[in-house]
């Protein structure tokens, strides 16, 4: 859903984004999104709860974007640490409207592979 919203918001800005950075193992910049590399690294450090990486990446966001951005980015990361667990623990389906709108993005990122476990043991 949010990869679709990323693309929709980038279209409004007249920018093309490289969605492959979202699922890449390594951290790389996403063209068209300012400071994407430091934001992805900070998000990864919070998800991993890696203290050393957190100190480093928090400082990187601070240097590149300022103190308020550190707080706002931490807010968004932690919001989605909640939302992914709600989605995955309740077995919800993607809403019809969003499924239609995001179909090409989901195919490009092969997001359906994450659904495989829902029907497994």
């Amino acid at each position: 859903m949010h990869s679709y919203l990323l693309r929709a918001s980038s279209k409004l800005e007249g920018t093309e984004v490289d969605l492959s950075a979202l699922t890449a193992n390594e951290i790389k910049a996403t063209s068209g999104v300012a400071h994407s590399d430091v934001l992805i690294a900070f998000a990864d450090a919070i998800v991993a709860a890696n203290d050393q990486a957190l100190q480093h990446t928090r400082h990187s966001v601070l240097e590149a974007m300022g103190a308020e951005a550190v707080v706002d980015a931490a807010g968004v990361v932690s919001n989605f640490e909640r939302m992914v667990r709600i989605a995955d623990s309740t077995g919800i389906l993607l809403d019809d409207r969003m499924a239609r709108a995001s179909q090409d993005v989901r195919e490009a990122l092969d997001l359906e592979r994450f659904r495989a476990f829902k029907e497994s043991d």
Partner: protein
Amino acid sequence: MLSYQRAEFPVRDAFAEAHSRFWTRLAAPGAWWTGSGRVAIVAEARHAWQCVLYRARQAALTPAAVDGEHDHLNALPEVAVDVIHRVTTDPGRLSRKWFDRILEAGLSEVQYVEMIGTLVALISIDRFCLGIGVPLHELPQPLVGEPSHYRPEGLTTGDAWVPMLAPDHDTGPEHDLFEIRPTGNVIRAMSLVPDEVRTLNDLGAVHYLRNGQVRDPSASAGTLSRMQMELIASRVSASRRCFY
């Protein structure tokens, strides 16, 4: 009242206010759990990261490949501990069959939904603290009292593992739950226990956007552009292997 005044960075008051509202709710009896049960749920969620079984399962191709018992705090039934540990540490690999076994083991759907709503709010607040580099908040002392056993009317089944209110529900005591209609399934998901949706709305509006703004790609809040917000949201979803 929780505070971020000692944080290295200025944190707008809305975070402390929303987190404090959840802390107050956390300590009080809910719909299906007592205050002590609710505080035990979040204490177990914090403990889950130290579980040896979790680490062994993380390394396995599938969690079902590794048998064993969770290291736990002995405050909750084993079935509840399993839910808390799995949802906290490995949410992307939960399955319908696992959920069915949870119900067969004696946990009710309403207990399950309140448990999920409670522990995910705690995870969100803890991760925020981690992100800005402040210690985790001390858990509240539980209040005495009995759960309300409130179950809303108008539930539907078939769109998820748990019953949910219809996406356009706008009547009765739950008229306030959905800011937009039809609302998204991820908001409906907690509606079997309406207060869990209220907590979700409250925290989401401060951490991200109000529900009514989410579908408008031009909406943003704070210092990040909408593209930067969605980049982060997508990265976290992919890291946790979330299909949604």
